[in-house]
Symmetry: C2
Subunit: 572 residues, 2 copies
């Protein structure tokens, strides 16, 4: 394609509302355009990228034996009422009332619709397993949509759903899909990691997330460089310290901490390590119970883990007023010593193994040192793993490795749903023994539009985007400097362009009448992997200039060898 | 692909709610599955057809210089308020309220969104013309969705929008798009007709519809076999009779018509042609005025034409009670003679040239014969073309031809919108003279999902669908009779299948363990254009059987020549 036939709209600055780098670059490169909150138009250049991602996803889904179909975006409420999710899904579901006052939603996901299809179309074990997928527009009414297409309200998703006569069959397909997902992200040229994941609101048992690794990622991932262990920090197990709790050695003493509320500041004041401190976090359960969670000063609460303890589902953090009412102390100085015996204390495994520790005194501007369970306060009511793992923690797989942490952007998620939906919707089949049985189900999602943003978070520099080969809107840019002034440049550029097209190379000829610097800046911002510059000066010597977007070093090559050179580069 | 890997779900009977043949066949062939009223899932086999249509549409849009983008399905109300269509569009627009109580719609069309993009991205005459298209899911909340995907609520549409610095530029692109549409339907192998059309609610000036010709079509089209004139009957002009009104010759006489209310019955009773009769149709304007329209007995009222007369927009038919109140006569015997002078009479051109005609007497069970304007009743208040053209009418292009009528299914519609939207939304550009001017606009729609149903209406027989080559889900079916029993059949089928795949032929190998009759019936119902049957008996002589779906005659060909034979057939 020629730039003169392509709508290009690059901008020097991104709008102020764009916070995330990928969002800024997508707006500046003119890949997307905002229509409203969480609503984006994919402009011609951006759509080329999106379609390339789609094509790779389709190809691997087909290879994995999944069959493409296309379900409606608009779904009747009745189906969601069968699984109880009409009320449970929450305000993220965009509900719609039609002209006949019937209720629908703009589908945020399609478990109910596909299960409705399966229960009427799949009747016998002979028809199982079956695996269906679609690439489709979905809508989730995020309370505060942001980060562009990374967390848009309307977005493009590949969702697949598999149906099975047995759990073994589900596990087989799950493994095949795990492999297919790995191939998708490998083919797209992305650094990614598959991690064990929490199953959350979708329900079911086993689950893995696929993350594109990037510093801006919302998720924290733990992995072991020496084994294949990898898990979302939400899920990664933290072990108790290997040494048992030491005996009390110090006396409990009040220490003045006039301005020190954070554990690190208290430790610094006392000249000890922060790992000698314990912090208390005040929580309130849905039943209204006030609960105190104890963590080592340098540890962080894992909200997913603690929510799984009895009575803790959907807990919230206590307000300052609630803390004062329960502990008679302002936040910043609270602790587990001397509190009302009715208050449930949940200690992390690490805290339970500590002795002679430092914690808030439950008195303004005071902390306590030399605190010991059993002597200065009762043993905690509950001892459990409620913290996030940290760099250097023992890997939970028991193979002796040590965990490292990194950040990721979730772009894929696979679930073993088991019979959660099939039982609720009576999606049964006739077994070989002529009995009826609920189907085992799996579901498998890829955030197609989010991948585009995630790829940019991982692949960019100060000049703009650096597309991996498989996602680039064009593979090669031929920049013709002086196309409208120099016959020689025009002839050489037109010829190379035609040769590349004939060789099947996805090439963009920049034939605009712009300053060279502006053309280079556009091609760099847009992120085209290979650039050939044709200008009068080099051309006089039969040469053109080649630059790889990622490396950035200019190399002169003979015009006569340019075709072969580019073919070699783009095949690499 | 193999049928063992493809979800096929054919049915002997279609559900009772399916009225239209294409709807029945699509359900029976398992191309679509109903989710709710006007909501259909495209099953794997149906989606293959839909994607083939999409691919042809995309290819021709790209060739025509249109650039693909993808706008959100969900659109903010504010944009529609700018053009005033938020209130005007009516209940077909599916309105949505989000969690923040902001109003949106599920886009029924995208003029507002694309104009919003154009006004911020296209600033100068140098950027014009520009032509953008998308292939996208749309929603129109039809009051009574029916006919399957022919008139679904959620459907797939290709919509393009062009922007211009001048009307001449718009006309050029309009002509290019007219040509591209013709190529699309030609490539899809459909018999179609482009007709001049009314611009309706979208607004603007020139407009053409593209119709797939089929007896079940909702639209009536008029065309001239000897010239290139073609128009929707809504629009086709009917001329006044060439001879002036003859002088009155008969006296006005009451005739008993005890049971005759229809003009044809009255004419039969009197032993004269129905073209001697005049029927009166009672209408009520939006202002509440009672109006009488006069048409020749064998002519039909053209509601689009009469609605364009002053005060007649959005008229409705009068109720029986309103007729009795205004004319003091029951329906069936009403006429223009002796009525209240306040009642406006609109006569068709043909009626105004009639003399000695027959009409209702405005008295129960009586008609009048020998009626004449100017003598028995006043000249009509308005004389205008308000009827549908008929077979044999003079062609309005003045070239002396005669009109014929046929039925069509509207699958495409192109409009010259002019500045209707650009003026309402301040979509202006800077001209070469440095002045500001509203852009000229065109819009161009294709009902992608409707094409699938329309193709079936045009291409079917008692056995099922007969796909045109370009739309077939598979080009060739290799039916292996006894695949699981005969080594020879399996070997021959596998080999031919592999050869066809390698040759790039879109082939389906039917390797199911079913009765031959059932496999043949499925392939015929599904409509695969070419079928090769491999069975033990013919194979013993080195032969296979070939049948073209449309012709239906079996032909034996040598297995060794089967590949070449099929390649020849599929390229034809």
């Amino acid at each position: 394609m020629r730039t003169s036939q392509l709508f290009i709209s690059t901008k020097k600055e991104a709008p102020a509302e764009a916070e995330l780098l990928s969002h800024k670059l997508m707006l500046r490169a003119g890949l997307i355009k905002r229509l409203g909150s969480g609503l984006y138009t994919w402009m011609p250049l951006g759509l080329r990228v999106l379609r390339k991602v789609e094509a790779v996803v389709r190809s691997e889904m087909n290879t994995a034996g999944a069959q493409e179909l296309l379900m409606p975006a608009v779904q009747p409420a009745e189906l969601w009422q069968e699984t109880g999710r009409w009320d449970v899904f929450g305000p993220q579901m965009l509900k719609i009332t039609d002209r006949h006052e019937r209720q629908f939603c703009f589908g945020p996901t399609h478990e109910e619709v596909i299960t409705d299809i399966a229960r009427s179309e799949l009747r016998s074990y002979k028809q199982l397993p079956a695996n269906f997928y679609q690439v489709q527009t979905k809508f989730r009414d995020e309370i505060r949509p942001r980060f562009g297409v990374m967390r848009a309200r309307e977005f493009m998703m590949k969702d697949a759903y598999s149906f099975h006569a047995s759990f073994e069959s589900l596990q087989q397909t799950y493994d095949v899909m795990y492999g297919a997902y790995s191939k998708v992200f490998t083919r797209l040229g992305l650094q990614f990691r598959a991690v064990a994941a929490d199953t959350g609101a979708i329900g079911g048992s086993g689950s893995h997330e696929f993350h594109v690794l990037a510093d801006a990622g919302e998720d924290l991932l733990a992995y072991c460089p020496t084994t294949d262990y990898a898990a979302n920090v939400e899920l990664a197990e933290a072990f108790a310290p290997s040494a048992p709790r030491a005996a009390a050695a110090a006396a409990m003493t009040e220490v003045d901490t006039p301005k020190q509320t954070a554990c690190a500041d208290v430790a610094a004041l006392l000249g000890v390590g922060v790992e000698r401190t314990v912090k208390a976090i005040a929580l309130v359960t849905v039943a209204g119970e006030f609960v105190l969670a104890l963590l080592r000063g340098d540890h962080n609460l894992n909200e997913v883990k603690i929510a799984k303890l009895e009575g803790m589902a959907d807990f919230r953090f206590a307000s300052d007023d609630e803390i004062r009412a329960a502990l008679l102390c302002p936040p910043g100085f609270i602790g587990p010593v001397g509190i009302n015996a009715d208050i449930r204390v949940i200690a992390d495994l690490t805290v339970a193994a500590m002795s002679d520790f430092i914690c808030g005194a439950n008195k303004p501007k005071l902390h306590l040192s030399g605190v010991n369970f059993g002597r200065d306060l009762p043993e905690p009511h509950i001892v459990a793993d409620i913290r996030n793992v940290m760099n250097g923690d023992v890997c939970p797989d028991g193979k002796g490795g040590v965990l490292e942490l990194c950040r990721g952007i979730e772009v894929g998620h696979i679930f073993q749903l088991r019979t959660k939906y099939s039982e609720a919707m009576n999606c049964v089949f006739v077994t070989e023994q002529n009995t009826q049985q609920a189907m085992e189900m799996g579901c498998y999602g890829i955030g197609v539009s989010r991948i585009v943003a995630a790829a940019i978070e991982q692949n960019h520099d100060a000049k703009g985007i650096i597309w991996p080969a498989a996602m680039a809107p064009f593979s090669v840019a031929v920049v013709a400097v002086g196309y409208h002034k120099s016959e020689a440049v025009k002839a050489a550029a037109d010829q190379l362009y035609a040769q590349l097209l004939a060789a099947g190379v996805d090439v963009l000829l920049d034939d605009r009448n712009e300053r060279p610097g502006s053309m280079f800046a556009d091609m760099e911002l847009i992120g085209i992997p290979h650039r050939v510059t044709i200008g009068d000066k080099a051309l006089a010597e039969g040469m053109v200039e080649y630059v790889a977007r990622r490396e950035g070093e200019m190399k002169k090559i003979a015009l006569s060898e340019a075709l072969e050179w580019i073919q070699t580069q783009t095949k690499a």
